[in-house]
C-alpha cells in the first residue's frame, strides 16, 4: 500500500472477461495488487436479486444472504441515496441493527476500513464497488486519496461488464410504441384521465382506448398502470 501501483493490467483483464465467474478472479487479482484485504463488486437487480464478485469468505457471503443483511447493511442503505463515493466512517452506524451487523462482519474477516462507490445502470440497476481493509484512519485516508480515481474507473468497468454479461443472459425484446401510443402513454403518466388525454390529442376517447390497449399488448402489461411503469423503465416514454 506504499507507492502507487499500476492498475492498467487489471483494467485490461476486466475488459477482456467474458463470464461472470471471471469477475471474481479479477477481484482477487485487484485485491492482491492493491495489497488490501478485500475487493467487492455487489450488484442489486431491479427485482431485488443480488449478485456479487467478492473476495470475502464463503461463510460471510452465505451469512450475509441468510440473514438478509441487504436490508440493514448501512453501506447499501447509505450508498443507495447518494452519488458520491463514500468512506464507511461517514455512514450511519448508529442503529443497533447496524452495530450488530458490523460486529458480525468484523468477526467474519471484513476489514474495519471501507470505501464504496455507488453506481447505477438503466432500469433501476444499482451496484456497489468496495475496497476494504484493516488499518488505521490515517493509512486508509492515504489509500483512498491516491486510489480514489482508479476505484471510480474500476467501478465503472466492473459495472459495465456485469451489465454486458447479464444482458447476454436475458435478451430483452421490446417492440417500440407508435408515436400516438407514446403520446397517449406520456399524457397518462402525467396524470390526465382518458377523457382529458383524448381531448388533448383531439381524438375520440374510444380511439385513445385502442392506443392504450395496443400499447398494453406490446408491452405485455396487465393494465394501464403496469404499461406506464413498463414503458418508463424501458425508457420508451419520458416524464
Amino acid at each position: 500500500m506504499g507507492t502507487k501501483v499500476d492498475l492498467d493490467p487489471i483494467m485490461e483483464a476486466l475488459v477482456a472477461t467474458s463470464a461472470l465467474e471471471d469477475l471474481e478472479r479479477v477481484t482477487v487479482q485487484l485485491r492482491d495488487t492493491l495489497g488490501i484485504d478485500h475487493i467487492v463488486y455487489h450488484w442489486v437487480d431491479s427485482a431485488g436479486e443480488q449478485y456479487g464478485a467478492a473476495t470475502y469468505s464463503e461463510t460471510w457471503i452465505a451469512r450475509y444472504a441468510e440473514h438478509n443483511y441487504l436490508r440493514i447493511d448501512p453501506v447499501i442503505l447509505g450508498c443507495f441515496q447518494r452519488f458520491h463515493p463514500v468512506d464507511w466512517k461517514r455512514l450511519d452506524w448508529s442503529s443497533k441493527a447496524a452495530k450488530a451487523f458490523l460486529k458480525d462482519a468484523l468477526e467474519h474477516g471484513v476489514g474495519n476500513q471501507g470505501f464504496s462507490i455507488p453506481i447505477r445502470g438503466p432500469h433501476g440497476q444499482f451496484a456497489l464497488f468496495t475496497a476494504n481493509h484493516t488499518c488505521d484512519d490515517a493509512a486508509w485516508a492515504e489509500f483512498t486519496e491516491s486510489y480514489g480515481r482508479d476505484l471510480i474507473l474500476l467501478a465503472h468497468y466492473f459495472n459495465r461488464k456485469a451489465l454486458e454479461l447479464e444482458a447476454n443472459r436475458q435478451p430483452e425484446m421490446s417492440r417500440a410504441l407508435s408515436p400516438r401510443e407514446v403520446d397517449a402513454m406520456t399524457l397518462l403518466a402525467l396524470g390526465y384521465s382518458r377523457a382529458q388525454v383524448a381531448h388533448s390529442l383531439s381524438i375520440s376517447e374510444h380511439t385513445l382506448r385502442v392506443y392504450i390497449e395496443s400499447a398494453r399488448f406490446k408491452l405485455g402489461a396487465l393494465n394501464t398502470t403496469h404499461a406506464i411503469a413498463t414503458a418508463m423503465s424501458r425508457g420508451l416514454i419520458v416524464v
Copy 2:
C-alpha cells in the same frame, strides 16, 4: 488533438467550483484544452426539468428547448437505456424525426462526431456528459480511444458537482413514502389490481386504498397511474 494533454488542472477546477454558473466556465476550459468543438453536461431532473452546462451556442440551446428536442434527441433516447459510454455513430438515427434533428443540429454548430457518457444519480436523476467535434471517423476514434477514461472521470465529477450544487438549491422537498406505501406502489406498478395487491400484502382492500391515497397526496399525483409514474421518476420505487 494530437498528443494527450493533462486534464488534472481541469478536474481540480471542477472540484473547486461552487456555483452552477461556474460549471459552464469549466466546460469552456475543457473544450479549449482538448481542442474540440464542444463539451456538454446535460442533466435531466426527476421532474423532467433540464439543466445544462454547454459550450453550444445560445441559439442552439434555445432552439433545443423551444422544439422540445429532449423528446426526440437520439442521444438522450439512446443513452437513457444503456450504461456504456456511446459513440454517436452507434445510435439509432433512422427515424425521420432524428434525421431532422441532426440536420438542425449540424446547422447550429454541433459537430458531426460525438461521444456521450450516461450517468445516473439517486432519485432517478439522469445526466449526459458529451464531447463533440467535427472530424472524420478515424480521428474521432483516436480521440475517444485516448480520452475515454478521462471523460468517464470527468462525467463523474461533473455529476457529483451538479448534484452537490443542486442539493443546496432544493432542500429535499419530496416527502418519502412509508414502507407500506412503497410496497403498495411497487405491486401496482407490477400490474396487480387493488384487490390482488391487498391480498398480497395481507391487508384489506380499504387499507390499501388509504396507502394509495396517502402516496398520491405525498407525491402530488392526480391518480394512481400518475403516482406510479412520479414515484418511479423520483426513484422512490424500482420496477
